[in-house]
Symmetry: C2
Subunit: 336 residues, 2 copies
């Protein structure tokens, strides 16, 4: 008998098994979300609903629910926490779009474009406050500790990214620190809190944290790669958005390091905002192809994806585990 | 023997007794504040320190400390909570200045002017997250419930104010709802949590909540009045700021209601942004004087001030009580 080693390339990956796994729980989470974004101030549910009802994948609450299944948790205490996680994420998106001046998200006009920056900032604050109210209802100081820490780390990561903006000299290590904070921390926390609710030992918490964290990094790397390969609409995100905003992402970092003097001059001009035309973007795509920068960004993503899968290798076989493995495979395959 | 009725006009009011009362505790709170705004990302302590170290009165943490003294609490658990309250307040100020596009606060250039809106939004988020981390450290779910609720109410109040912006038809009742949420809620929570930490009965919590809430309303009313009487610098705020931003505050609501057709036309033009010159502001001051709108805004402030004082009438006489009464008198006397 040989060991079963689960591999990323084992099958055509889909998010379906995870969606099916958590469908019943997600109905409860959605009910909490709809109920708790209510307010006497009509602008709040209107603006929040635009984003929350707007076709997001609910990836983070889904991870809380799937992790709870993996642990065989049968209760309902995690529903309100999964909603809190989604509120934190939504608040972050609202503020991100203000910070980046974005005009499109998930294929729709952003809230800041429709209602203005002030409304997006304040409704983000409301959702963030509401997420803590939800956590308090669950009465777990440990969960509150995990999620308040994740929130501080996210904000720190966003500030780190802001101070790195339009800086051509960003090393891969610092870029990884940034996405670890601004994306992976909430993935990790979303998974970890399931183990807290299920009252499992610290080792299970750590395993789920590692699963979420590595999946989060993989997820962000693929997002960054997609900017240089996809057509508008694949992710509800315009190809070239990051390029036009002069964002330092891994495809740029690799293409820059591997390019010649002329290429480096081009990237410097682009990152510092002097090259943002369609022709410039076409040239950028040429450069990332020539240097295999997108391929290798995706290879890095698969590395983290495999680590995510191995982090939960110790849990017994189950539908939940299969779904969690396949979700990783799906996440890293999105760019193809 | 006659009852001792404490009255607002009993003495020349000062904040000194309260400052002296809490000086030792405040050293501990300041140490927590300095320690917890640290970050590996230099922009965070730099930007946060600009506002936090920038000569604020620390009114809200001071109220937590004074309330604890009133209750005879001898412990130190409230220090970290008082710091959390100041962090919530600071996060709110950072976001407020972005929302209002303000350029001056406490006599200094605002963070959004120096570092830009994105940095102010994100550092605000960081401080807000950090405040919840501090609350978790204090391990009181009840305090977490009070402060997360206050935070949601503040954000709701800010959105309410935003949707009321430049609307000439704002009734006094809705204006009071707005300041109850955006200012008084945190004053109330700051006082109430002292009773929770001191493990006092619900009646004491409610009394301190009422003290803080009424003081907060009085405080905001006086702030709104000062905009129409003071010279730049009295509050580190320019006289006429609210006027030039077309803000509906109580002086405007009263002057509008009491004015004739010509006056009403003037106020409508001002609130809708068509009159914001120095000459317009001079005319506005004439109108609020003629209609006694500032005097009566201050009379309303004294009404709430007296209610604040009466809310703590049931507590035994003490230095803390005297200081809390005098702080109210000071707050409502600021405009003279």
């Amino acid at each position: 008998m040989t060991a079963t080693v689960q591999r990323l390339d084992a099958h055509a990956p889909s998010l379906e098994p995870m969606l099916r796994l958590v469908a019943g729980d997600m109905d409860h989470v959605n009910a909490v979300i709809v109920d708790r974004m209510r307010s006497d101030i009509p602008l709040i549910p209107e603006l929040a609903g635009h984003l929350i009802a707007g076709g997001g994948k609910r990836m983070r609450p889904m991870l809380t629910l799937a992790s709870a299944r993996l642990l065989g948790y049968e209760g309902a205490r995690h529903h309100v926490l999964a909603a809190a996680v989604e509120f934190i994420h939504t608040a972050t998106l609202l503020h991100d779009d203000v910070v980046d001046g974005s005009d499109l998200r998930r294929g729709k006009r952003t809230a800041n474009i429709i209602w203005g920056n002030p409304a997006s900032v304040l409704v983000g604050d409301f959702l963030f406050s509401r997420s803590f109210e939800l956590m308090v209802e669950a009465e777990s100081l440990k969960v509150l500790r995990i999620l308040s820490n994740a929130s501080a780390v996210i904000a720190e990561g966003e500030v780190n990214q802001l101070t790195a903006a339009r800086r051509i000299d960003l090393p891969e290590e610092r870029y990884l620190d940034i996405i670890d904070a601004k994306t992976a921390a909430l993935f990790a926390a979303a998974c970890r809190i399931a183990a807290v609710v299920a009252e499992r030992p610290e080792a299970d918490e750590a395993a789920l944290d590692a699963y979420g964290r590595n999946l989060g990094i993989a997820f962000q790397l693929v997002d960054d790669a997609i900017d240089y390969v996809s057509d508008a609409g694949t992710m509800g995100k315009d190809a070239g958005d990051d390029f036009r905003e002069g964002k330092m992402t891994l495809p740029v970092i690799l293409a820059l390091a591997r390019g010649d003097e002329t290429d480096r001059k081009f990237w410097k001009d682009a990152v510092e905002g002097r090259r943002a035309s369609d022709a410039d973007f076409a040239h950028a795509i040429d450069l990332v192809r020539k240097t295999r920068a997108v391929d290798d960004t995706l290879a890095r993503a698969r590395h983290y994806g495999q680590r995510a899968i191995d982090a939960i290798a110790g849990f017994p076989a189950s539908k939940a585990k299969d779904a969690m493995v396949e979700a990783v495979a799906f996440a890293v395959a999105r760019a193809y």
